[in-house]
Symmetry: C2
Subunit: 399 residues, 2 copies
Amino acid sequence: MEYYSQKAAETFPYTPGERPERSSIKINTNENPYAPSPEAIAAAREVMGGGRGSRNAAGAAEVSESGRADGAAGTDLRLYPDPESDEVRQAVVEGEREAGGIRLDPENVFVGNGSDDVLSICFQAFFPPVGAEGKALLFPDLSYSFYPVYANLYGVPYRKVPVNERFEIDSRDYMTPNAGILFPNPNAPTGIYKPVSEMESLLEYTLHKSLVVVDEAYIAFVGDAGSYHNHGRVSAASLISRYPNLLVVRTLSKSHALAGLRVGYALGRPHLIEGLTRIKNSINSYPVGILAQKIAAAALQDTAYYAQTTARIVATRERVTQRLTRMGFRVLPSSANFVLAAHAKVAAQDLYQLLGEKGIWVRYFNMPRIDNFIRVSMGTDEEMDIFLERVQRIVEGEA
Amino acid sequence: MEYYSQKAAETFPYTPGERPERSSIKINTNENPYAPSPEAIAAAREVMGGGRGSRNAAGAAEVSESGRADGAAGTDLRLYPDPESDEVRQAVVEGEREAGGIRLDPENVFVGNGSDDVLSICFQAFFPPVGAEGKALLFPDLSYSFYPVYANLYGVPYRKVPVNERFEIDSRDYMTPNAGILFPNPNAPTGIYKPVSEMESLLEYTLHKSLVVVDEAYIAFVGDAGSYHNHGRVSAASLISRYPNLLVVRTLSKSHALAGLRVGYALGRPHLIEGLTRIKNSINSYPVGILAQKIAAAALQDTAYYAQTTARIVATRERVTQRLTRMGFRVLPSSANFVLAAHAKVAAQDLYQLLGEKGIWVRYFNMPRIDNFIRVSMGTDEEMDIFLERVQRIVEGEA
């Protein structure tokens, strides 16, 4: 490790789920099974614009004699993008108002290169807060495994707080002096959602002391038909006007079927957004490209489309939960686009392997407390039927 | 600054150039005046694919009943991208071989969200290297002003080494115990290029002691027609096989007219690429989206197109340099897509302001040693004619 910094020598990076060949059923990384909004695709086409570009006889492209010919295909790409992603921020504001009656301004929104980028910047901007020496950042022992990776990379002291015996986050366990709290809601990989009132008590407790980051990567899938119809009641974003120590983090990867685009955002009071912006501008002035900004803004505006796909995913989740339960699985009550399930007799590692042999990719975590569970993302109904049929055979011993 | 970390409270972010209204002449951020390669645009269109998407009578989009319908418009975007950007890495390798006869493997290439992202990761991965206590990172006093921003953010001790009286980097000034060297070549905002032999002596001196990062953001513009015809002789990439302490950083923003896309990369021995990858995987597993990967890979392969646009920009630079010189400017000998110029009689700040009033945006740095220079990016020939005409009037006192 010659030339490595101590950081590089000692870091333990996050390991994402596998990326198998396309022909298989990939229900291991909580991707959305449906296409992104047609409006988003149309927005991208607009940027790409014009014709195919002319080619001369020799096959080499010609640069038009008159200069750069603004308006030619993809010309916008030659310019640096808006560093603050204002169009995306405006679309977020409109989406919150439309879906949940939550009133925000663009000054309440920070946009990053996926929510991982946003979380990484949160760590640098707010953990540990000034004067918090000796206190630790708190997050659940069962949660997004990137949290301890960030904490290690940025040297933030942390403590994992065990979820209770029902695998739930209990906010009372966090009411202890701390240097910040990461509260994923719904949590992953459990899928369990906690009502906004739990966040409220935490925010009261930590007010003027430390920051609470609510990671709402899966918030769209809360409720019987997804949160598009009750967003104002299920998202912590409704508390921003009352709590200066609240930051809500979101991603377009799951709810908006845009994992391949890399856009995430944070919501909070302007002084928190300013803190994130300071760090961003010390790393990369332009974290989100022009195409990503256009596509994200258009997607966020097409609430009708995503209400439909989300409801469909939620219906699939309920059906899969029922079927797995009937097969002898313990399925944690999920409010996300995946379920965490353990079978009474078949070991999770065996299930993972036997499904993988048939090209069905689920996620298995070799970690304390959940090493007998598999996490299953919701695919299309067709895919889930194939999955369920295969699981049925395995648990019936016909594997 | 309640809840801010010390880092957030004390950071001094980088300030990028302004983004004026489109109608003006924007020659202030070294963007490429020509459109990106038509092949790159075609690659993006391929990802977006299919038709516009069907809409029912009520105007709401319909999700096809059969499920996700892979192959529909933009469906690839629902999946996470390749975390290692292998297609881009392969295209970089082919481009190096084709343009300069430089033999590299994909294991020599690291891809990031613009070269700012790559540089930021370099700082975390290699500065200060293990055991380098008390030594400082070295870079020129006149250079990319993001370097000290990174150093401050990551707590890396640094020392600015003055460029000589001709504004050149002199490698002998860096032959002193150090914790790493940042060597921008051509340098910005001077535009001055130093031959590979200078890098070689530095690499010999620091071998097994510290890392030399050669920032080649502007390497494509070196030489009479740009480096596409002599890349193997002008780029430090030719030294990678001999020096394990060399990392070359590049960007597609300027040479490939893709500032709006956000793709940059680093070249070096596999153990250095592994160090960057470790840090990347502790921040964001997927820094480059699917569209960005496809567009970048296609652009890198279209060497014929970029050889043409680069040669054109270089010709414009030579013409602008001659004209400015005749008007009484001192123009530093530039090997980049911009020139740094000072007039004998008209103050740079006045020039900046008088040009701005006419919608011509150049860059002015209120910094020691260059506060009487303006930096002028090369636009189209038409744009530069308007710029030159305006400058002529100003220096003739008709402003």
